[in-house]
Assembly symmetry: C2
């Protein structure tokens, strides 16, 4: 992320996490705590979330330690006592992380992840956990909407150039692949995650040649097995006619033009006209790619308008989740030293205690209801969603491949009732509260209100 | 960004950049090209941009090379001929980069940066340049709006937990500091950029203690010189009264409570009530911090309502530029081998040729008009904004500190006429077109239309 600076995940934190931790150490508050990560409410037009980002998180957490140079920096702030810096020097995460497997569909208020560890350890991880899980969960959810809108047509991630940073570009590629995209244009994501990579050509390629035809011919010469021509640089229909000429030359050499790409103008109308030209000239199999400010709403509109588009290249608006660029995600202390805790702040409800999410399905395997309950509560016939991924500071299972997670999401999607899949859903999935959790919550609120509010 | 994977800036690119480059090499198209980076139009409610991100970019570009493992990955794709992989193995950027200094204010259609280099080199950098400059320019602009809205009150960046990735968190801290924030909660940004760091405490801190009062006392014990108490965990006014008790105890020990923080409820009303409690008890100097879904609109509203807030802690909505999370930024080939080039695609105008931006000011130093012109055009009395930062692949000057850039932005801001500073501006800053640029543009459009459109 920088040529000259060292990435230090142990400093991916807000100052207050460490000042609080220093105070905990001073006060001897080193007992076990549980923190819950959850999304408070749905952004506009959302009725479900897609869990993603767990791998990156648990890899980082199980490897976390404070380097010499990070400790020097912290010492230079002149805020921390020597004993605390010594504590950090020895720091390794020793706790338990329970999380939903990536690719799971989940709902507002449900914990996606719970950390149970000595209080200081759980506190120090707060900012890192929030940042890591939010981004990929946000993108996977946005991409799932695009996949739904495309109704079986293919999608490719083209977002790298305008994501909020390079790391965000990687997560956009991974998140959208999990959600069902065919692959990405992003080479680093291709290398890291073994995601298929795709590409066509840019306008600069076309304009660098003396003529559009020269550019098309040169590209076909270089990549005869994978030629997709961008045809809107000067005029889309003129471009389509030139593409047909190239396709004919290729056919003479035993090759096939793979596709053409449209990137501007009225994509529905132009795609139909381009298809007519291609079919009329005997090339019904040449694919039509489309790009340009696409998102799930635009894709749905194009599909409804009968656009002749085989592959949607979706970029910026998916890669930054433009209509809703963040989630109201929170990481809250819910139990310390066996005592349930919560805050009463206006409009920011949190559920006390170490929890589990239980999912019930109907006879056809469709999700029927989730129950948010204490970890010890029993919900007969329901499936618990949180699984232990880190125990004693170590990974419990090897990490999964994005392809495995993608397949899990595909199955989850099959189980999601269609009313929640819509781009503008009008229903909320039912999440009920376990009897024991409800009772403990009420008792804690009552006691805290009496104790703290005058 | 990942515990187990190596960050490879040379792969921060879209596949097509390399397939196009491979074709250029095959065709012998290795002459000099110029690419322009510019923002097509303003997002809603914007009338200016703040240049940022140049440092990160030029550091990466001047250091760029293809590692053995990256070449192995590219080879594994079976798309590239051996000669091209050999070219990449020897790749070093050898060209020139002219850019606006960071902290400059600029406008739509103006090049922020131009790359002049052998065609392949300029092409390969496209995705990296777009991604790097867009994010920090986006955030610096958003943060400048918050600073304007705060009318002299202080601001701190609290965005790390919900930025779109960890890298985005770093850029949010740097960009907002350049725009005039006091500092950030983000420790890694503090270390990297030497930005002041700030922090208070979280609700988890308060809830982990048996009582709110215990938490406050413990914090004051650990950080007697820098105590800011979060008072809304259970009830803001009850919290304020407890804070007063702590302030009294601290005073007895010769210390001073620095501040209290509000994070929920009606911040304007609560801040006034809290101020009344503090003043009434003899603590007029205790600062009031406020946080919670703040952005420039909310800050302006609070200032107008006479909120008794000294420091705004601004997080998510600034850190992702929530109302407008991307810029319509483009990187376009404008000249190849001395020949001006452009595309004619609908709604996507680009200006041909290697350019300069000239700025004229009125007698009081206020910006009056910019002129977009060919690099060789003369505009008497106007200041050219693009400066050479990389020549022959090397940095021309040492990089600047964020503090220097922050001071430049402060001066720029002084020169920006107030009508463009507004949160909902109704005017557009005038950008005229140089006579030679205008003539070359028309000639190129005419010739290309005749040649390419049938």
């Amino acid at each position: 992320m920088s040529a000259s600076r060292r990435y230090a995940p142990e400093l991916v934190t807000d100052l207050y996490e460490l000042t609080m931790a220093a105070s905990y150490l001073r006060e001897g508050m080193i007992r076990e705590a549980t923190f819950s990560l959850f999304i408070r409410d749905y952004p506009p037009d959302r009725a479900y979330f897609v869990c993603a980002g767990i791998e990156d998180l648990v890899e980082t957490v199980t490897d976390l330690n404070f380097s010499h140079s990070s400790l020097e920096y912290l010492s230079s702030l002149e805020k921390f006592p020597r004993e605390f810096l010594d504590y950090l020097r020895r720091f390794r995460f020793s706790g338990t992380i329970r999380a939903m497997p990536e690719g799971r569909i989940f709902f507002a208020q449900e914990p996606i992840l719970e950390v149970t560890a000595p209080l200081i350890e759980g506190q120090i991880l707060e900012s890192l956990i929030l940042n890591t899980i939010q981004l990929e969960t946000l993108i996977a959810g946005k991409a799932a909407r695009c996949v739904h809108a495309a109704r079986g047509r293919g999608l490719i991630d083209f977002s790298l150039r305008r994501t909020q940073g390079i790391q965000a570009g990687l997560k956009a590629a991974r998140g959208s692949y999990i959600a069902g995209f065919l692959g990405t244009s992003n080479l680093m994501a291709g290398e890291w995650y073994k995601i298929p990579v795709f590409g066509t050509m840019a306008h600069s390629y076309v304009t660098s040649f003396p003529s559009e035809m020269d550019a098309f011919v040169a590209y076909a010469r270089a990549f005869p097995d994978n030629t997709v021509l961008l045809i809107d640089t000067y005029d889309t229909l003129s471009g389509a006619r030139k593409a047909v000429q190239v396709a004919k030359r290729m056919r003479d050499e035993g090759k096939q033009l793979v596709g053409v790409r449209l990137d501007s103008g009225d994509l529905a109308e132009l795609s139909k006209q381009v298809r007519a030209i291609l079919v009329g000239e005997g090339f019904p199999d040449v694919m039509i790619f489309a790009s340009g400010n696409l998102d799930e709403y635009k894709v749905e509109e194009l599909v409804r308008a009968g656009a002749e588009i085989d592959i949607f290249a979706v970029g910026t608006r998916m890669g930054v989740s433009a209509d809703s660029p963040y989630l109201d995600i929170a990481y809250k202390l819910v139990e310390y030293d066996g005592r349930p805790v919560l805050k009463l702040s206006a409009g920011k409800k949190t559920w006390v205690g170490r929890k589990q999410v239980y999912r019930s399905r109907d006879g056809e395997g469709k999700m029927k209801e989730d129950r948010l309950a204490l970890a010890g509560e029993k919900v007969p016939g329901a499936e618990p969603l949180l699984e232990t991924v880190v125990e004693g500071g170590r990974l419990v299972h090897p990490l999964e491949t994005p392809a495995t997670i993608r397949e899990r999401f595909r199955q989850e999607w099959e189980g999601l009732p269609p009313i929640y899949r819509e781009l503008r859903p009008r229903h909320r999935y039912p999440v009920s509260i376990g009897a024991e959790l409800g009772a403990l919550q009420e008792k804690t609120i009552r006691e805290k209100s009496l104790q703290e509010i005058d």
